[in-house]
Symmetry: C2
Subunit: 244 residues, 2 copies
């Protein structure tokens, strides 16, 4: 007999609140729209062999040296970190450059959250770039879901919450939702009108911060749905996609 009980969906707005949620046996979606999870999604769809998320710049350099053909990349406070080769932009990793290479990546918020999640059934990567395929995937799993916003240094941010709302808008009928953060995210999504996300996000702190570095085009790319329809997931220490 098939149970009619729907799985639960919750939203965690900041890594500093992660301990309040049950990540055990849930599919945890890591969300860092500007820009870690957008970059991971793009790099893997463009043929990267894997992305290795690491917590520190030192670790990034060390792993990069030990892995032939790998690239080290990452940012701190929105800029390429000292000692690393590349930044945290999805546009830096076209197929011509990234195919079959391992990307060792460290970022301010997204890779940090990834390392904080413990005991999850699965850890997957969410971004506007893979929105629809991710939603289909979450429905098909039929497991509890936690949408985890990487936020900005533990503070609520507009773009990650908007994305959580976009996911909820698409999959809410397949889940039991009794979580005010999810309700807030859904309201935020509705406020955005459900399209032209970048226009809505121009008011946000992170957009303003990255604009000062001339990254408007980059952010516009990150806010475009479904350019890279893959579902990256953590497999041991590597983020990969299934290829057929």
């Amino acid at each position: 007999m098939i149970s009619m009980q729907k799985p639960n969906l919750e939203v965690c707005l900041s890594p500093a609140l992660l301990h309040l949620y049950n990540t055990k046996d849930a599919v945890v979606v890591i969300i860092d729209i500007f820009r870690a999870t957008s970059t991971i999604t793009a790099a893997l769809h463009n043929g990267a062999r894997c992305v290795i998320p690491v917590a520190t710049v030192e670790e990034c350099i060390s792993i990069g040296k030990s892995l032939p053909g790998s690239l080290t990349a990452g940012e701190r406070d929105g800029k390429v970190a000292d000692g690393l080769q590349h930044g945290n932009s999805p546009l830096e990793y076209p197929a011509s450059f990234i195919k079959d290479r391992a990307l060792v990546l460290t970022t301010t918020n997204g890779t940090r959250l990834l390392h904080m999640v413990q005991g999850a059934a699965e850890i997957v990567i969410g971004s506007f770039l893979n929105l629809s395929v991710l939603c289909d995937y979450l429905i098909a799993q039929n497991k509890n879901v936690l949408l985890g916003c990487a936020s900005w240094k533990d503070k609520y941010n507009l773009e990650d919450t908007l994305f959580a709302g976009a996911v909820i808008n698409r999959i809410q009928h397949s889940f039991e939702i009794n979580c005010d953060a999810a309700r807030g995210a859904r309201h935020l999504y509705n406020s955005s009108g459900g399209s032209n996300f970048i226009e809505f996000l121009k008011d946000g702190s992170h957009y303003r911060r990255l604009s000062a570095f001339g990254l408007q085009h980059d952010m516009e790319y990150c806010a475009t749905p479904d350019l890279h329809p893959v579902v990256p997931y953590l497999n041991g220490t590597e983020i990969v996609i299934d290829t057929f």
Copy 2:
């Protein structure tokens, strides 16, 4: 010469995020709509001599015994706590009952946040019951403001965030706001339509939780603007209002 720099306004969505904000020299508004700050506002407007917020039930009982004519009140998880005389409802404290008495109060979320705030220029109490007069007060102070949501056991909640949005909607032109949590709260307020708050909040976790105890009328009262136009503030260990 008068400086044209506006003071800053930020929103803290949970006590667990309080350490991320600069409370020093700011006016911190404690927000616990269901129901601590609503009850405090009502009791003081109805003539209570003071409200003494305490962290634990034991402390509440002990202070109650030492203060002649005081009342002990408080809840845990939405119900009157064992050993206390009264609950956490604004409707329990009409003038005929509370006038000139001290109310010793402990609650799950609101009084806890109050004790966590350190070094603020001032700590004031916010609720729909004193919305307009609070907004006028905050503008007149011309100081940095932190709107502090008591939340529910550190999780984002709809009613406190909605109230933060209502305040922002009224005072935003007098403040510099570069805080995504404030933007999110403003969007939430706009989603509510700016009136009939209780209808909007019926979807929230806390409304559902308290409804199970038959507290619908109580929450409707808490969501009604401007029934108790006073600005309670913390003076030493007591919350009081200025009376003229």
